[in-house]
């Protein structure tokens, strides 16, 4: 079936199978930053924004995206890089495989929460697993990022 979506600001028509999940559609369309770490909505690696809200693209059918607005990390490159610089300065990207989904969640959090506490930050990001870093360095980077005024 045919859907019309906006991906990173560009209107696109895509041919998708009825049972196709969004993560696969996006990867096939060239958005390699969308990664999968599980198939059970546990890891958060596949996080993109749908109409501005962080969404697990492994758990949503592409068919449902007709008329919606999708953002991947490629669509917020400047802001993502600003945060990635802090993350990298901290050494808190290791394999980096979880980073795009994590960054999309962090950027969404920054829009949604004003002056969050450590607990609120941790709560917001809990759905994003990372097997490499142990999370401490990520938290250090997030806190620095939140102090940076836009």
């Amino acid at each position: 079936m045919r859907i019309e979506v906006t991906i990173n600001g560009h209107k696109t028509a895509l041919e998708v199978a009825p049972d196709e999940i969004l993560a696969d559609t996006l990867r096939a369309a060239g958005f390699a930053s969308v990664r999968r770490g599980c198939d059970t909505t546990n890891c958060g690696l596949c996080t993109v924004w749908v109409d501005g809200r962080p969404t697990l693209s492994c758990a949503i059918l592409a068919a449902r995206m007709d008329g919606r607005d999708i953002t991947t990390i490629e669509g917020v490159a400047g802001e993502a890089e600003a945060f990635a610089r802090l993350l990298v300065a901290e050494g808190a990207e290791q394999c980096g495989f979880c980073s795009p989904g994590f960054i999309m969640t962090v950027l969404a959090m920054k829009r949604e929460l004003a002056d969050p506490t450590d607990d609120e930050i941790i709560h917001y990001l809990t759905g994003n697993l990372c097997r490499c870093t142990g999370y401490m360095g990520q938290l250090r980077a997030v806190k620095k990022f939140l102090e940076v005024r836009p």
Partner: protein, 763 residues
């Protein structure tokens, strides 16, 4: 030092963090076939018949391969230096399946949908056999996991196929029985450590194609490109010269990718069809059909005199290697070696036992490689001994641990560097040991602290070798060629830091290339905590050689002796004050006849494997109503010699500690009674999330390792070892009962707590 010791950013950090297409699955050719595997539903079965006709007729299917279609040379997938100590007990496909998930058939099709459909149409007629699932029952069980007669071992590893014994190992120094008999206090306990999943975020994956010369190219998310090439050559009966293995960016390994679980399947399909092929393991497949940490049982006896000097350590171990013996003998021996070497005041030590086959997921390499398991057992016993002697466990350790310059009883070698005593002292202060030990009853909860120490190695002594090449390019920059594998650890960066330090050049003047078996110098791969130490020394030597060549070349142009020329990294100055920039020299080295591009090349292997050390301290709260353990604070003080990059070392330590915390508290590979894996997703196999870890605090107490690059030792594995015994110790101090089986789930803690209420020691 200008660059070594600085927390510089990783050279590929920004690209990987922002999701650039650099990983295996991002690079697959568009027309690649999708490979899928039909897997056994039985823990043990013989395939009587297999019908692939319907599957082959599915539109888009390129081939369906069964045990009748594959080469018959047995091999091991363990990524170890040849000749591997692991038994050659595998075929690509066999008419016997040995665990739920074992490979039965390979399907390749134009797309996922066709491959999936074909899988469902393969008809297999199984004769279901009785499995052996309990590793404590494996030896002499009537069911034999490996009845085949063509199994091969490169060494005498004490393999006994008919008894389900994959490996036997024994080390004894001194007279253990006599020393135990003479000890004033003897503690004895049996400990169990469970299987743990590596659970790296990027699952196993590889793709393959034939190049312009008809050679097989395999691109894989692997820690061991050179070993993969050799394994493919053996399993596919192809000369290694016809194979090229390339490793792109890797989404985590943790030892899992030291076993080549996925590469053979697309490679075989490409050879059969001539077409590119890829395989991407699903998460479920990664849990059920790859490998995990070896589950182990330890019977420990410790003897000490009244003052707390440990006189004898006796450990008997049984290790569950599952259906295949990858890493079985070596993980087994490391469990003893790394935990018994710590206490060198002992007059006698013994470590012995077996690794056994069962009809379960094969075990393999995982961060810590047996030391993690051995550390839990021996450190728990040491804590128990402290209790029996009425001594503070940190004081007991300070009495008994090995120190720099002392002889290690296990290897009979002098220890080059160690600051473990300082690590213990500092950790005690940072956790607030004196105020908190052993525990405090808060009413509904009890708060308590516990500790453990550990060591690992740096590379494999006398076996593994790494090579490195540094070239001076025409424009005055350098290319550093490596065969090691950065799987997220930042090793490419720290190795470039070392080269930059020797050549006195900025980091961005170094181009790093790793790893491609056609181009890279040989390296055994990144495992055994070897990269910073072994490959690092190769880099230091190669860069040193290049530096000398640069000076000699400049001296030639200046008609001076090399000793008269100085080089500050950018400019060469001769005795008469004549100056030559590096860029000029570089250009001259490649222009015109009779020139020679300058390069340094070196190999390095080490006769020793200097241990890094950690002192770990846990501060926990146990809920008396539920038995739930909450980790509030974890302090690790680490001796990894010189810290090459403090930021990367810290994050690596934090990550390893969290994996150890997962092992301590809930990670558990569980089976049903038919041998099916129950924990086959992140729903059922829980790894720590950011809510589970409390505060993790990492500190370094540097020492200087004389055999290491700039004094460095390793850090990758050692950090995973202390959480389990330290947390178990804290739980003991909270609830008064020892827990001897990991993980420390609320059920177990509650049961232990209610069984022995009188033993509680609360202040």
């Amino acid at each position: 030092m200008k660059i070594v010791g600085k927390g510089v950013a990783k050279i590929d950090g920004l690209a990987i963090a922002t999701g650039k297409p650099l990983y295996t699955d991002d690079l697959v050719p568009a027309n690649a076939l999708t490979v899928k595997i039909l897997r056994s539903p039985h823990a043990a079965a013989r395939i009587k018949a297999i019908d692939t006709v319907a599957a082959e007729s599915v539109e888009g299917v390129a081939c369906v391969l069964t045990h009748k279609d594959v080469p018959q040379a047995r091999f091991t997938l363990a990524g170890q230096t040849y000749p591997e100590p692991s038994p050659y007990d595998r075929l690509i496909l066999e008419d016997l399946v040995r665990y739920v998930g074992d490979e039965v058939a390979i399907v390749a099709a134009a797309d996922e949908r066709a491959a999936q459909k074909a899988l469902e149409l393969i008809k297999v007629d199984y004769e279901v056999l009785t499995p052996v699932l309990d590793f404590e029952q494996a030896i002499d069980h009537p069911a034999v996991v490996h009845p085949e007669t063509d199994l091969h071992c490169n060494f005498d590893i004490g393999h006994n196929r008919l008894r389900n014994i994959a490996a036997t190992h024994k080390v004894e120094v001194g007279d253990v029985a006599a020393e135990l008999a003479a000890s004033a206090v003897v503690v004895e306990e049996t400990y169990y450590t469970q299987a743990q999943a590596q659970a790296m975020m990027e699952t196993y994956r590889a793709f393959s194609y034939l190049d312009h010369a008809g050679r097989l190219v395999v691109v894989s998310s692997t820690q061991i490109p050179f070993h993969v090439r050799r394994q493919l050559a053996r399993a596919l009966e192809l000369p290694a010269s016809r194979i090229r293995v390339i490793k792109p960016r890797i989404g985590g390994g943790f030892g899992g990718k030291q076993t080549a679980v996925a590469e053979i399947f697309p490679a075989l399909v490409t050879l059969r069809t001539g077409r590119p092929a890829k395989i991407v393991y699903e998460r479920r497949e990664t849990f059920t059909a790859t490998n995990s940490r070896h589950a182990m049982r330890f019977k420990v006896r410790l003897g000490a005199d009244r003052d707390g000097l440990i006189r004898a350590i006796d450990v008997e171990c049984l290790s569950d290697t599952g259906a295949y013996g990858e890493h079985a003998p070596t993980v087994f021996s490391v469990a003893g070696e790394k935990s018994l070497s710590l206490y060198n005041k002992a007059r006698a030590v013994r470590y012995a036992g077996h690794a056994v086959y069962t009809n379960k997921l094969p075990a393999g390499a995982m961060r810590g490689y047996g030391a993690t398991q051995g550390c839990f057992a021996v450190e728990s016993a040491v804590n128990k001994l402290a209790g029996a002697l009425g001594l503070d466990p940190s004081a007991l350790r300070l009495k008994n641990i090995i120190r720099a310059g002392e002889l290690d009883i296990y290897h009979n070698r002098i220890l080059g560097s160690a600051s473990l005593d300082r690590c213990i002292e500092r950790g005690r202060e940072l956790i607030g040991w004196d105020e908190k030990y052993p525990s405090r009853d808060l009413g509904g909860k009890v708060r308590a602290v516990g500790m453990a120490v550990t060591m690992q190695g740096s590379g494999i002594a006398g076996i593994d070798t790494a090579s490195a090449e540094v070239r001076l390019n025409d424009d005055g920059n350098y290319t550093l060629l490596l065969g090691s594998t950065d799987m997220g650890t930042g090793s490419d960066t720290i190795l470039a830091q070392m080269a930059a330090e020797v050549l006195q050049t900025p980091l961005d003047a170094i181009i790093v290339h790793a790893a491609d078996t056609d181009v890279s110098p040989f390296d055994t791969g990144s495992y055994a905590s070897s990269t910073a130490y072994v490959t690092g020394m190769a880099v230091v030597k190669a860069a040193g050689e290049l530096r000398e060549k640069i000076i000699a070349a400049a001296a030639g142009l200046m008609n001076a002796a090399p000793a008269e020329v100085t080089f500050d990294g950018a400019v060469l100055t001769g005795p008469a004050g004549d100056r030559l920039t590096l860029a000029e020299l570089a250009q001259r080295s490649v222009v015109g006849p009779d020139r020679r591009q300058l390069a340094g090349y070196a190999s390095h292997g080490s006769p020793v494997s200097p241990p890094p050390f950690v002192a770990g301290f846990a501060d926990v709260e146990v809920d008396k109503e539920t038995g739930k353990v909450e980790l509030l604070d974890y302090v690790a003080v680490i001796d990894c010699g010189t810290v090459i990059n403090p930021n990367l070392a810290r994050v690596q330590a934090e990550g390893g500690l969290v994996q150890g915390i997962g092992l301590a508290l809930y990670e558990d590979v569980r089976y049903d009674e038919r041998g099916g894996l129950q924990t086959n997703s992140f729903m059922t196999y829980k790894i720590p999330s950011r809510k589970d870890v409390g505060a993790i605090r990492v500190f370094f107490e540097e020492s200087y390792e004389p055999t290491g690059p700039f004094g460095a030792k390793s850090i990758g594995e050692v950090v995973a070892n202390t959480p389990a015994p330290a947390i178990a110790h804290a739980v003991r101090n909270a609830v008064g009962a020892w827990l001897t089986r990991l993980p420390l789930t609320p059920e177990k803690v509650y049961a232990a707590m209610t069984k022995q209420p009188k033993e509680r020691t609360c202040t």
